[in-house]
């Protein structure tokens, strides 16, 4: 037997105009188990709340029904009233007779009748409500940042400056990401290294940052506040604790590897640091290029190392790190343009992709900052093709957002460093950003030729060996352009890292069809994900420029902080649980849960639910054929009882 109190709100005339509120209260009083039923002008007002609190005490109520506005409005208000009166807050039921009754009808008969039905349903359900307790958990105050490009670096520094301990995990042997490859940044044309390397150095020096280069996350367990993350340290074959960065080894090494840093334009040693300002500035050995690993002898580096830091026996190792929140900032790759045969990338030496050109401009790059072709000539005419693989149904449908601007930057740098004629082949010029339109105007005035038409084909010139012919329509004149050039620059689509789907699986993120991570809400929660405690920043979410990436990094740091500043975290109480006696081990719950909360307990032979991961959607309960799963606060019984009540009147 329950003792239910029903409180009907007039909401001034908002409800009372089209629902006979006193009649509703009288009706409530006739329902079984209802021991008190009242109506009042404003139930959410202080006197209204006090009335409920008093009645809870006076009538020893164990269930409260407030018949008023939408639960999305005042459920929390009335829950607090219950809690303050010593009643479990989940023993409250709200009947929405304002938004879903009085405001959507003019007919007081209809309004009253519908309200009665809704109230009857609520009383039915209220009898079956159970007290629920929220679980409170301790929060680990540390944060992990995955990916140490500009986004990861910025986020790590922000968090570390607040005093939080940060693990910064980077797959490569140095931090810096793509930004460290650039020479200048648009639209201000400031030097990329000048603004980035001080930050890289800060990371290295910061006492709160544990830098983990040549590392990859291999397993993520736990949940918000308490993640256990396994990180694999790939063998570097150099003991960085002993190495004093004299780099004598790199001078002597006879091995030759392809320089990833220089986009394969040049070779590097087998023991190497990617570039002079790399952080950490200590070498690693590329196993695939090392003479010793290939042929079984050499070990020259070992001989010249006074610190005895070379260790050919080094193995991959794993460590587990405990953190309360994670920021994923894994960045992007450029699309491989080789399959687009019409552009001849990889076939004609004069065709470059954008990152290769970034390296050509860079004074630390393969040409020392001189723009020369692979055969050493200076180009006389250069075509820049926009939208290669972007805005393209056959490849990537999205606009890569930065190509227009960096293509303009290229044009400027070409003009600055060569005497070449520069042509831009574009579809639309997108210059929406602070100072971007101005930058566009500046480049126009530098006498760059703009051809409004997408580059269609690159072919070898029949007449002049080594030259290329680019073909496109100038859609403004409708003329077919055949233009001899020496260099073609492709601005390819930005795509998520090749392993983004693996990262998504590890952290239980969802991705779009290309593998960009999905944010929780495109406008209101752009940095959170559907996985509580995991945040995203930078291009791994969608293509964006450096200013936006940095802004996101600050935001993600703040988001992570909202979790790790607290000692304790209250978890959702309306979670699901398994009644082991009814579980038939069909594993449907395990299959469907978007959060990986249910798991199969091999020993007991039944499914169980990790309530810390559960968000209370109830999907598992509906796919459970033997009704073994109890979706708290929305149990089968409660829903059926409510339905029964609704259909009775």
């Amino acid at each position: 037997m329950s003792r239910i109190g029903v409180f009907v709100c007039h909401c001034g005339l908002n409800i009372a105009k089209t629902v006979r509120v006193s009649e509703l209260a009288e009706f409530a009083a006739t329902l079984p188990d209802v021991v008190v039923a009242k109506d009042y002008k404003f139930m959410c007002s202080t006197p209204g709340q006090e009335m409920i609190a008093n009645d809870i005490k006076e009538h020893r109520l164990d269930r409260v029904i407030v018949t008023a506005c939408s639960p999305l409005m005042h459920e929390q208000t009335f829950r607090k009233v219950l809690a303050a009166s010593g009643l479990n807050q989940y023993l409250l039921s709200i009947v929405n007779i304002r938004e879903q009754v009085s405001w959507v009808t003019h007919d007081i008969e209809e309004g009253t009748a519908k309200s009665k039905a809704l109230l009857n349903g609520a009383v039915n359900r209220a009898r079956l409500l159970a007290p629920l307790t929220s679980r409170v958990i301790d929060v680990n105050p540390d944060v992990m940042v995955v990916g140490a490009g500009i986004a990861g670096i910025q986020a790590a520094l922000e968090l570390a400056n607040t005093g939080k301990k940060v693990y910064l995990v980077e797959k490569n042997s140095t931090i810096g990401g793509h930004m460290a490859q650039f020479d200048k940044t648009f639209p201000t044309l400031d030097c990329s290294a000048c603004i980035l390397t001080p930050k890289m150095d800060n990371v290295l020096q910061h006492k709160n940052i544990t830098l983990m280069t040549s590392c990859e996350v291999t397993e993520v367990k736990g949940f918000v506040g308490n993640f256990d993350i396994t990180v694999k340290q790939k063998a570097r074959y150099v003991d960085h604790d002993k190495c004093n960065a004299c780099l004598a080894c790199t001078e002597k090494c006879p091995g030759k590897g392809v320089s990833e840093w220089d986009e394969g334009l040049v070779k590097r040693k087998a023991i190497y640091i990617p570039f002079p300002q790399a952080v950490p500035q200590k070498p690693v050995i590329d196993r695939d290029a090392c003479t010793y690993f290939i042929k079984g002898k050499c070990r020259l580096c070992e001989k010249v190392c006074e610190q005895k830091a070379i260790d050919f026996e080094q193995q991959d190792t794993s460590t587990t790190v405990k953190v309360g929140a994670v920021i994923v900032a894994t960045g992007y790759d450029l699309m491989d343009t080789k399959p687009l045969l019409q552009y001849g990338y990889g076939r004609y030496p004069g065709v470059y992709n954008a990152l290769e050109v970034e390296r050509l401009f860079n004074s630390a790059g393969p040409t020392g900052g001189k723009v020369t072709l692979r055969d050493g000539r200076e180009p006389q005419a250069i075509a820049i093709f926009h939208c290669i693989g972007s805005r393209d149904k056959n490849n990537y449908e999205h606009c890569s957002r930065v190509c227009c601007m960096y293509s303009l930057k290229f044009a400027h740098l070409f003009k600055e460093k060569t005497s070449a004629d520069v042509y831009q082949f574009y579809i639309d010029m997108r210059a929406a950003g602070k100072g971007y339109e101005e930058f566009y105007n500046r480049i126009i005035e530098e006498d760059v030729k703009f051809i409004r038409g997408k580059g269609a084909r690159v072919a070898e010139s029949a007449d002049e060996p080594g030259r290329l012919i680019v073909e496109a329509e100038d859609t403004i004149t409708g003329k077919f352009i055949k233009l001899p050039v020496d260099m073609v620059v492709l601005s390819p689509a930005m795509k998520p890292r090749a392993d983004s789907k693996d990262i998504a699986r590890l952290f239980n993120l969802s991705t779009d069809k290309y593998g960009f991570f999905m944010e929780r809400h495109p406008k209101l929660a752009p940095l959170s994900t559907m996985s509580e405690g995991i945040f995203i920043a930078g291009v791994c979410q969608s293509p964006k420029d450096i200013p936006d990436t940095v802004a996101q990094a600050y935001g993600a740091a703040a988001e992570a902080l909202t979790i790790v500043v607290k000692d304790k975290l209250e978890l959702e109480a309306t979670t699901a649980m398994v009644n082991p006696a009814s579980c038939c081990a069909c594993l449907n719950c395990v299959r469907v849960c978007p959060y990986g909360a249910p798991f199969f307990n091999e020993q007991k032979g039944v499914s169980e639910i990790n309530e810390a991961l559960c968000k209370g959607c109830g999907l598992c309960a509906s796919v459970c054929p033997s009704s073994a799963i109890i979706a708290r606060h929305f149990t089968n019984d409660q829903v059926l009882a409510e339905m029964e009540g609704l259909m009775e009147f």
């Binding site: 999305l72 519908k114 469907v592 978007p594 959607c617 109830g618 829903v639 339905m643």
Partner: protein, 138 residues
């Protein structure tokens, strides 16, 4: 007296229920035959809820969820789409009038759509007349 059907609505908390609130906030008018049960996600809906609703005498059942792709729980409504589609086929093959069960994706911003759907569905159920096949006579 004209036939006033009883229609059960089951709406997800995040989209359709909120959309229904919006219809109220903007004072759109629609017939009062619908009584809504709020669940957290359309994927919470057990097929047996639907069968039971008709047994309880519902003349129509309207399920509302977030648009596919916008589910608050990522993928809940994508499962719901399949499961409710099968529910519908079962109802139809058993001989229930196909028009009595309907699933609509109504977002939190689609108060208009909520009102339109309810109006149209109520009209449709009125035309179908009382549901007698599943209903358990007391």
């Amino acid at each position: 007296m004209s036939f006033e059907p009883k229609i059960l609505g089951i709406a997800c908390n995040w989209c359709t229920y909120t959309g229904a609130d919006l219809a109220g906030t903007t004072r759109l008018q629609y017939p009062q035959n619908l009584r809504v049960v709020r669940v957290m996600c359309s994927s919470r809906i057990n097929p047996s809820f639907i069968f039971r609703a008709f047994q309880l005498g519902a003349d129509g059942v309207l399920v509302g969820g977030c648009h596919p792709g916008d589910c608050h729980y990522n993928t809940g409504n994508l499962y719901a789409r399949r499961r409710l589609a099968v529910t519908k086929k079962i109802l139809e093959f058993s001989g229930l009038e196909p028009g009595r069960f309907r699933v609509e994706w109504i977002s939190a911003s689609e108060g208009n759509k909520f009102a339109e759907v309810v109006t149209e569905f109520t009209e449709q159920i009125k035309n179908l007349g009382p549901q007698t096949k599943f209903k358990i006579e007391q």
